[in-house]
């Protein structure tokens, strides 16, 4: 199982090498005077012209290179093969002209990138530097070319043709980088430097593969260690040694912390070692990775507490690893491209290694949920750490219900329910992000509907689960109690949601997604609406019995979804 993380890493690495993945995918025929293809995707044969074209017609080869021309058919396979060949030949041609011609003839176009404050961005407009100043200084001041200044509109051509150029060094630098990158997509250019020169044909997409892999290096040892933590916990559970521990005069918290501490410490050491080896900023790395470590451990703590057999743990841990890995790694790939990438803390690590700054808000946005989940799971852990619970063989939903029941402080149900809803928010949030990813399996035009319903189902479950457990255990029974608790639960949820909204809106303001998922623009109406839905679910449950809870949730969610549609203006 430990290996699965490795397997994921391997498949990830294989994926990173994208192009090499489809080894021998295409068959290419080349005329005797054609080029030599150096790309493992293509299996090449040298055939003369007439044989080549007839092979192409017979679909025996996908593309035929006839000297300087490339012939292909019009079916998908052949078209894709031609597309792949296009890229490969472009590369080879660049390498060839680089060798055959001087740099200034082979790479004649250099583009200098400058940045202007975005017109729509009112904040940065207000901050000061006016556009005209910027454009003037930028076009006017650079020492060398294009003396466009404020008064004369047309800039004279920069330089006598053959002389050395300022940008030549930038060109050769990029050629080196391009060659060094080999077949891997190469590390993107620094987008932060003030003056950056790009060569269109050497430009590559700004995907921070290298930095993501660095960030992934951090997570790998942590997930290994946490797997050891789980199996050690499981061993104690199965040997019933944990029962001995529990009868000793130590608190549950001490048991959990004591068991966890060595593993957490080891993870910390690995983070420190990696940071030192990579010469990163130690404090920043700690600030980013400690919450991640705590988060991973809180999930494994729950796995080992709830599950009883090794078989279950194996598969659940597999699931946990793949979910955590994708949750952390994939968004980070898009750092600097979409602000949503901040949902993974690894994005912060990527930023750190790129030497780019990020604000406190971004930090809170990506890290915030993790310590909360840790606190919640520690608390739940201490509550459910008793022999009966640990040793019980029961289906998962029963285990979860019991865990909730044990978590709730029955002497203060009102406060407990409010806080429970509040603390479930980070989990709801993460589940919704995962649903978003999963929803891509559904045909395109169903996605919004499915997402909307899924989001409301998750929300309704989060709000009503605690009350339902209390109903089931007969702690509460009157309709009045149900109503009051529903209101409190909705209140707790709303407060949490608003907090989340506050942080996330400031980070992903441009994203429609956050608006759709956490749609709420006023305070009172959502509060009333939320408590109505929850009350509906809970009353239905209390009337028709806990067995029909899924049905009640469904009804509540449908009503909720309709309400959301109304708020979004889909239903008039």
């Amino acid at each position: 199982m430990l290996i699965l993380a490795g397997a994921l890493a391997i498949s990830y690495l294989a994926f990173r090498q994208g192009v090499v993945l489809g080894k021998d995918m295409y068959r290419v025929g080349i005329s005797p005077d054609g080029p030599d293809i150096q790309d493992s995707r293509f299996r090449t044969t040298t055939v003369d012209r007439s044989a080549g074209y007839s092979l192409l017609d017979e679909r025996a080869i996908d593309v035929y290179i006839d000297g300087d021309k490339v012939a292909h058919r019009n079916d998908t396979r052949s078209l894709y093969a031609a597309g792949a060949l296009n890229r490969c030949l472009e590369r080879q041609e660049l390498a060839r002209i680089k060798g055959e011609y001087a740099v200034y003839t082979a790479f004649p176009l250099r583009v200098e990138i400058n940045y202007l404050p975005a017109p729509t961005d009112n904040l940065s407009m207000a901050q000061g530097t006016s556009l005209s100043e910027l454009i003037d200084t930028l076009t006017g001041s650079p020492p060398q070319p294009a003396g466009t200044d404020q008064t004369t509109s047309e800039g004279p051509p920069s330089q006598p043709a053959e002389g050395p150029h300022d940008t030549d060094s930038a060109v050769s630098e990029q050629i080196r980088e391009w060659e060094g990158g080999g077949r891997l997509p190469k590390i993107e250019m620094e987008f932060t430097s003030d003056q950056e020169i790009i060569i269109p044909s050497l430009m590559s997409p700004p995907i921070p593969f290298a930095q993501v892999i660095i960030a992934f290096l951090y997570v790998l040892p942590v997930s290994f260690v946490s797997v050891f933590f789980t199996s050690s916990f499981m061993d104690e559970k199965i040997d019933r040694r944990i029962a001995v521990l529990m009868s000793a005069p130590v608190t549950p918290l001490e048991i959990i912390v004591g068991k966890m501490l060595p593993y957490v410490a080891f993870s910390l050491v690995s983070v420190i070692v990696i940071t030192l080896l990579l010469k990163g900023n130690l404090l920043l790395a700690m600030a980013i990775f400690i919450p991640i470590i705590l988060f991973i451990f809180s999930i494994y703590l729950m796995v080992s507490l709830v599950y009883r057999t090794f078989k279950d743990t194996t598969f659940i841990s597999m699931l946990a690893i793949s979910v955590i890995t994708s949750y952390l790694v994939f968004p980070a790939m898009f750092s600097g491209v979409s602000d949503l990438s901040y949902m993974s803390p690894l994005t912060l690590a990527v930023k750190m290694y790129r030497g780019e700054p990020f604000g406190l808000k971004e930090y809170l946005f990506s890290i915030g949920a993790m310590p909360l989940i840790f606190i919640l799971s520690m608390y739940v852990g201490t509550r459910i750490l008793n022999e009966e619970y640990l040793m019980g063989f029961r289906p998962l939903y029963r285990k979860v219900a019991d865990a909730i029941y044990l978590t709730i402080d029955r002497t203060h149900p009102y406060l407990s329910i409010t806080l429970l809803s509040l603390f479930l928010i980070p989990i709801v949030y993460m589940i919704q992000l995962v649903t978003l990813a999963l929803s891509l399996n559904v045909p395109m035009h169903y996605i919004p509907g499915v997402l909307l319903l899924a989001a409301t189902v998750v929300e309704e479950i989060a709000k009503s689960a605690g009350i339902t457990v209390l109903l089931e255990k007969r702690v509460i029974w009157s309709a009045r109690d149900v109503l009051v608790l529903s209101f409190l639960s909705a209140l707790g949820f709303l407060v949490g949601e608003k907090l989340l909204l506050y942080v996330s809106l400031s980070v992903v303001s441009e994203s429609m997604l956050s608006a759709a998922l956490f749609s709420a623009n006023m305070l009172w109406i959502p509060l009333i609406a939320h408590s109505t839905f929850t009350a509906l679910v809970c009353l239905l449950t209390s009337r028709s019995g806990v067995r029909h809870y899924p049905f009640a949730v469904l009804v509540g969610s449908i009503v909720h979804a309709l309400y959301n549609l109304y708020v979004l203006g889909v239903i008039p």
């Binding site: 396979r77 597309g83 041609e93 990138i113 940045y115 940065s124 294009a146 466009t148 491209v337 399996n441």
Partner: protein, 346 residues
């Protein structure tokens, strides 16, 4: 024979009861869908046109300097709205009102080197997108300048489609979906066999009028059946998503044969170690290493599957038959040796 089916049924029941198989399926679904998230993201950089995402976004670019530059034509070909401005001030005003998204300064290309200036909005995500859209016209301009300089550059006019999605689907997603069930099946067989060995329940089964090989055969068959069902499900899901697999019957046959090979190997492992954890570990390590090594061989199952699924002309039943032979050999060896391995101390 009815005893054989009874064991198969028992195995399948235990699997569905424990819901492990559900989790395994969820994992696969998860990997597949997160991969497609990534894919869509990557596509928007490599091939903005192919997903039609950026193609629909129309950007406006203001040009100052040489309005007759060929770049203007190349930009228009790429559906970029081009406006020429006589002075930076005008361009700047247009930019600040949001009429244009970026400003390009092109000097007259009288020399061999053109030093262009590109002004992008400061927002990182916006500037990246604009840059990706402008990349292709700029490359065409660059090639134009090269020709002006007497540099002969070939193959600049190949049509065809950007292959990223195609390669990713057929060389990664489909092999993962087709072979992951095999991995799960192997895991299941180990769990099932080592459980019986550890609890010494195998002896009871075995002393009944069943041979040891029937018991193992049934366990392998149950795991295999599940793997095949999963593969068939995935192929249906792929078809729903309009991804066609060529040679579907051969692809499924290959997946089944590989799953069978993996389960037999895992049965070997569990009988040899007689200990769940050690077997699982060895098995996972073995799978990982074989996947790694197979990469270097032409006939590796993954590449074979890719070629079958894309409809390679020269790949067919003969290549699959090779694995059938391997499977039969392994199966024979296992049935021959299982009893002896069981008897040997763990």
């Amino acid at each position: 024979m009815s005893a054989f089916y009874a064991i198969v049924k028992k195995e399948l029941q235990s699997v569905t009861r424990e819901k492990t198989i559900m989790i395994a399926i969820i994992i696969q679904l998860f990997i597949a869908s997160f991969s497609s998230v990534i894919l869509v993201g990557l596509m928007s950089f490599y091939d903005p046109d192919s997903i039609g995402l950026n193609a629909r976004i129309s950007i406006g670019v203001g040009v100052i300097g040489d309005a007759g530059s060929p770049l203007v034509g190349f930009l228009r070909d790429r559906n970029v709205r081009v406006t020429t401005f006589p002075s930076p001030q005008d361009a700047e005003n247009a930019f600040s009102t949001g009429m244009i998204d970026a400003v390009v300064f092109t000097p007259d290309d009288s020399g061999s080197v053109v030093e262009m200036k590109l002004f992008l909005p400061e927002s990182e995500s916006l500037s990246t997108m604009i840059l990706m859209i402008l990349k292709e016209p700029m490359k065409r301009y660059e090639n134009y300048l090269r020709r002006e300089n007497g540099v002969h550059i070939r193959y600049t006019d190949i049509k065809g489609m950007p292959p990223t999605t195609y390669e990713f689907r057929y060389a990664f997603i489909i092999p993962v979906l087709m072979f992951f069930p095999a991995f799960v099946a192997g895991s299941m067989v180990i769990d099932s066999i080592s459980e019986e060995l550890e609890n010494h329940t195998l002896e009871t089964l075995w002393s009944a009028p069943l041979s040891l090989n029937t018991v193992f055969g049934a366990k392998i068959a149950a795991a295999l059946a599940l793997a095949v069902v999963q593969c068939a499900l995935w192929s249906m899901l792929l078809r729903l998503n309009r991804i066609t697999i060529q040679n579907l019957h051969l692809v499924l046959l290959l997946a089944a044969v590989i799953a069978a090979i993996v389960t037999v190997v895992s049965a070997f492992t569990s009988v040899y170690f007689k200990d769940r954890e050690r077997s699982q570990f060895t098995y996972s390590l073995f799978t990982l290493i074989s996947v790694g090594i197979s990469y270097f061989f032409d006939f590796s199952p993954i590449m074979l599957l890719t070629r079958l699924a894309t409809g390679d002309h020269y790949t067919g039943i003969a290549d699959v038959a090779m694995y059938v032979v391997l499977l039969l050999a392994l199966l024979g060896a296992f049935f021959y040796m299982a009893k002896r391995l069981i008897a040997a101390p763990g």
